[in-house]
């Protein structure tokens, strides 16, 4: 079952591990470009005191802009929001059947999904510690349900290990823990850790390793009840005369280590991926709809900002109605700008050189998602995979199965690709039809049912998204040190907010916490007069 891998040099091995890193490493880069930490959201801001009838013009009706609109209007500010799209939500967005999306370059896709099926092109997960977003979901009537991040019965896959055959996550995890446990137990028993672990603690450690690694009474990780209790049996326990289970064979340690598949386990131990993770029922677009119910009346859609001018009296924003072409102006005492930086960098604006430099200092990540609709949920029916994610070194990086409507007999949609980096650029440079074709070709190596069951697909390549020109702001330690404070601090009457003005690269929580931080400072300035 477990084919031996060809002998390899250390260089080959490292190279292969680097390749196998694709999926989980992409994840890490997508989700933790910055050190992950708990949201500092402490409840909605308390904007008390006399605001003197001040007005705020908010640019962008994503979660940052709408959070600001909600809280500022509650505090009595006069609020107007300008939005480029003909919908609110920005990257909080769901594509479902009948939706039409035109990317830069002019390619238009009409999503063909059956009713109830969807993909979230942008954010798709809400970790339990994103307190701000969860607060507003609860407040705005956005129903949440569990998002299945880890599925032990999904696959981990390396084209260069196990003859390219996908492996069950539970096998890799159980065997990795088991073998590491056994090796460490041997070290303890050989006295190899005597310098750092006392005899008594060594005894404790051995028991811990037995528990953690599912080791047998001889501290070995071998075929038997203990290991099969983790990884699963070859023949599951039953009832009656056919009840006797048959244990399964663990993968040998060398094959396991060389497969590189242990990478996927580490990725799921990340803070951002710990249970519980939520998704809005019906798609992330429901977050946008929740905010729209509260502040939609303040938003002017189809408004393309072309210039932002401030002086000692206030801020004047010039914008173009994208339907009529009419050029118009809006004025306010202050401006909260949440426009993504690649777009903002091209808008005429009189701000300090420091802010101008900060706006130009943050490249936007590339990212591509492709949704595929199939005639049936073969991943559930044939492979017993209910939600969760399969990781692979193939260019599409992962396959995410729907976390809802398990057992549904109708067409099902999975996320067939979520990737950045070099493969992301190449997919972005392809046509929507080419993207779907490539993702089908790759995915067939994991699920041979792909070709026979395929119905239609839709893709969003974030560097082709007209309202962002990229997926999210990609900070480095160096750019943070040089520009982050300048990006966030008051510049005359202008303040920036959005995920780019946070330590949450790419997460909605960054938009919310940055908006609250910004309007709190704005309010302090207003009441201070």
């Amino acid at each position: 079952m477990n084919e031996p891998i060809m002998p390899m040099t250390k260089r080959d091995l490292l190279s292969m591990i680097g390749t196998a890193a694709g999926a989980s490493a992409m994840y890490m880069a997508m989700s933790s470009m910055d050190q992950a930490k708990a949201s500092d959201f402490k409840g909605p801001p308390k904007l008390e005191g006399d605001n003197k009838g001040a007005s705020v013009l908010i640019l962008g009706a994503g979660v940052a802009g709408m959070t600001a609109a909600l809280e500022l209007s509650r505090a009595g500010y006069k609020v107007q929001v300008l939005e480029y799209n003909d919908r609110v939500g920005g990257r909080s967005w769901t594509l479902q059947g009948g939706d039409t999306y035109t990317e830069l370059g002019g390619a238009t896709q009409t999503c063909q999904f059956a009713p109830g099926n969807y993909i979230n092109p942008g954010p798709w997960r809400i970790p339990w510690h994103h307190h701000g977003l969860i607060h507003y979901c609860h407040e705005l009537g956005v129903a949440l349900e569990p998002f299945m991040q880890v599925n032990y019965n999904a696959y981990v896959h390396n084209t260069k290990a196990f003859g390219g055959k996908p492996q069950r996550y539970r096998h890799i995890q159980a065997d990795f823990y088991g073998h590491v446990g056994e090796l460490l137990a041997k070290s303890v028993n050989a006295g190899a850790l005597a310098q750092t672990v006392s005899k008594e603690d060594g005894e404790i450690l051995l028991e811990a390793l037995r528990s953690w690694g599912a080791l047998d009474r001889n501290m070995r990780y071998v075929k038997g009840a203990a290991s099969s209790g983790r990884r699963g049996y070859d023949k599951e326990p039953g009832g009656g005369l056919s009840a006797v289970p048959e244990p399964s064979d663990p993968i040998d340690v060398q094959t396991l280590l060389r497969s590189g598949l242990w990478r996927s386990i580490g990725g799921n131990l990340q803070w951002d991926h710990l249970s519980t993770i939520f998704q809005p029922v019906g798609g992330m677009g429901q977050v946008a709809k929740g905010f729209e119910r509260a502040v939609g009346h303040m938003v002017r859609k189809n408004s393309k900002v072309t210039a932002i001018h401030q002086d000692e009296k206030g801020v004047i924003v010039t914008y173009k109605d994208t339907k009529s072409g009419a050029v118009m102006k809006a004025a306010a005492d202050y401006c909260l700008c949440t426009i993504p930086l690649p777009v903002l960098a091209q808008i005429e604006m009189n701000v300090s050189p420091e802010l101008d430099a900060a706006i130009r200092a943050v490249p936007y990540s590339t990212s591509v998602k492709v949704g595929l609709e199939f005639k049936r949920r073969f991943w559930e029916q044939d492979d017993q995979i209910y939600g969760g994610i399969t990781y692979t070194d193939l260019p599409m990086s992962q396959i995410s199965y729907p976390s809802t409507r398990y057992g549904d007999k109708g067409p099902g949609v999975l996320l067939g690709c979520y990737v950045g980096g070099a493969a992301g650029y190449e997919l972005t440079a392809s046509t929507p039809a080419q993207r779907v074709e490539k993702v089908l070709e790759w995915g067939s190596q994991i699920h041979p049912q792909y070709r026979g069951e395929f119905m239609n697909g839709v893709s969003v390549a974030w560097h082709r998204v007209p309202f962002t020109l990229g997926c999210f702001g990609s900070w480095t330690e160096q750019t943070r040190a040089e520009h982050y404070k300048n990006l966030c601090k008051f510049d005359g009457r202008i303040l920036l907010a959005g995920e780019h003005a946070s330590y949450y690269g790419g997460w909605q929580e960054g938009g919310i916490t940055s908006a609250i931080d910004a309007i709190t400072r704005l309010h302090q300035r207003v009441i201070a007069g």
Binding site: G18, M26, L104, I359, G421, A422, A423
Partner: protein, 137 residues
């Protein structure tokens, strides 16, 4: 910057080209580009780099596109008249544009810049050389 490059390196470790030719050995590459999508871009020509990477934003016809903001055309763009400018943009990035040059060798940066400066109706004189790019790193 180091952190970004490393992240990008890991992202790029698997690639479209690699999947289509899985038996192909890893391209010999400099230490710098081994870090990012070496298998995909390690041997890529200027034209291939354009069609796989640059065209993602500037489009296959190099005419750019416009939405809330725009991607400038590279076709007929006088800013390409002096080769050092586009080379610098590729190496350092510009505004939201990522520093694509981090996944390319010096020679590849020169190749893709020279490709763009001599195609799409562009007929700019003077080729960028690898050593010019090296000095920009």
């Amino acid at each position: 910057m180091k952190k970004l490059i490393l992240s990008m390196a890991l992202i790029g470790a698997s690639s479209v080209a690699e999947a289509q030719a899985p038996a192909r050995p890893a391209a010999a590459a400099s230490a710098g580009d081994a870090a990012f999508g070496a298998r995909m871009l390690g041997e890529a020509s200027g034209e291939q780099i354009f069609t796989r990477v640059c065209a993602a934003c500037h489009m296959q016809d190099a005419k750019g596109a416009e939405g809330a903001g725009r991607y400038p055309p590279l076709a007929g763009n006088q800013k390409l008249a002096i080769g050092a400018y586009p080379a610098m943009v590729v190496v350092k990035g510009l505004n939201g544009m990522p520093p694509i040059g981090t996944m390319l060798t010096d020679q590849q940066v020169a190749d893709v810049v020279n490709y763009v400066r001599s195609h799409f109706g562009n007929k700019f004189k003077g080729a960028v050389k690898a050593e010019d790019v090296k000095a920009m790193r």
